[in-house]
Subunit: 345 residues, 2 copies
Amino acid sequence: MSERHLFLRACWREDVERTPVWLMRQAGRYMQAYQEVRQRHSFLEMCKNPKLAAQVTLQPVERLGVDAAIIFSDILVLVEAMGMRLEFHEGFGPKLGEPVRSMQDVERLRVPDAEKDLAYVMEAIRLVREKLRGRVPLIGFSGAPFTLASYVIEGRGSRTFRFTKEMMFSQPEAFHALMEKITSAVIDYLNAQVRAGAQALQVFDSWVGCLAPEDYERYVMPHMRRLFSRVEARGEVPVIHFANQAATFLEKVRHAGGDVIGVDWRIPLDEAWRRVGYDVAIQGNLDPIALFAPLPEIERRVRDVLERAGSRPGHIFNLGHGVHKDTPEEKVAALVKMVKRLSAR
Amino acid sequence: MSERHLFLRACWREDVERTPVWLMRQAGRYMQAYQEVRQRHSFLEMCKNPKLAAQVTLQPVERLGVDAAIIFSDILVLVEAMGMRLEFHEGFGPKLGEPVRSMQDVERLRVPDAEKDLAYVMEAIRLVREKLRGRVPLIGFSGAPFTLASYVIEGRGSRTFRFTKEMMFSQPEAFHALMEKITSAVIDYLNAQVRAGAQALQVFDSWVGCLAPEDYERYVMPHMRRLFSRVEARGEVPVIHFANQAATFLEKVRHAGGDVIGVDWRIPLDEAWRRVGYDVAIQGNLDPIALFAPLPEIERRVRDVLERAGSRPGHIFNLGHGVHKDTPEEKVAALVKMVKRLSAR
């Protein structure tokens, strides 16, 4: 490419002719073409078969015209590679083997060699890059250490994070040892994805919003700082840091690192950007459930997000969380068109 | 009582000799004495039998020495009285009959006569008052309209509130009609509780944190303002407004109403109080999972909350959410003692 793609320019806060748009979980169950693949394969099979993963990764690029692809995978494949059993049960979410609750349990986990142990992800990335032929950039991703740790400790999703916090508060050494091990795994995983061809990275801290600001600072932030400082291609490959429901400690999230800060819809985008600082880009932040509204109401909300972003370069339009599985596909397509039309300079 | 109780004085921001303390869900499964009752009766039976409800209401007063009792009940009994079937299944949470999804469905609901249709709550309040003999005040409560509406629309708990928001965004008239009906029911319910003997009231908006600030302002706040303005005993019976995970729109929560604003642990108490204004009292805000920590760590956190509250009158110590069912009972008892000891002027 002679010129960098729109999406990458926005990540670096360079001038753009319009706001780039992609959507978290844009390759997913709301889409008919995805469902057709999913009917014949389990979710994990789709993650582990590079051809299938590449196929569904490309669907939203071809059908919606989003400005970036994100490799189809699940944040928990890394945890599986660390030595935990991983299963997905319909309507229940992920379930992991023996939860990690002590220093001994932490020692049981290993830092995988991502290139070898997650070769299927790297192969999927190479395949997607080949098929994209430069049309749009490809985003690689990982769960953030806290979010991965919470699954590892709870053994499944949680509302209260009772075991996670109990370990944090009662066995801080074991908790930090776990975070350190996971952070090392994430660093290697992200670097391997860049070597395989990822042109941007996103770190998903989906569950970090369960923490008090002080606990984020003490138990999570140091690991996040190490993570961001060890991305080998930093300064070349932009890293998006999405911290869900973290509005009360956004400044700390920003301090932790990232070239782009992703925010959910609970905070107005202008307020979020002001708080993280204009020397980083911002991504977000339409409520995913707004896509169930009639088109004029969706348009009103899109305009609002774009107005809050203003004319300053560095806004990437996205939802504040993943596309909901029941979302009407035509609404998602309409959203992408709308952002392109309404943001044209 | 010749002098108002500590807890009530704190609600009115009067001088106190120490910080009063009570805990959301203080009568609950973490307590052995509660479990003994629960083994012989279903949860709903306990709510509907005034003697049993009174018995468990008093347990934390007698065993923990909290500074207020809160009537044992569930926010969904009001919804049942509005005409919806209500069931509780072990490990699954509440399940309601036919969800409300249209104006027709809204019309099916009725505004109950709380004194008659929820006579068992009123009777439990009278019984508790009798048995308390003025030792500590009794708090009555209700779910807030949005939280109740979300159960009514989803038919159960939800993570995404997909149907609630869909109705909000696509059928705003039906949504507002539902909110209005529920608000009328809540007003009557709270007033009846005061007539039965409740000396303070708490309104729980447990799920409102799923909303963007603008949506709170448009779809929820007007109903909340009506609610607080219609509490007949206002100015005499303090009303606590607990809005969970609402840190990004605390100012609007305060504007909605309440003599005391309850906050969760995601925001430091001093910041929360500054934002809602010092002309209301504040309640909170220890992370309930902190009770799984060793005692010195609990103490450190209690001190932090008390220091953030400072010496200004008007702080009521509480958790930022209900006591978790697995909490060691002795930790809860230790917490209450600790607050009393550390806050003594």
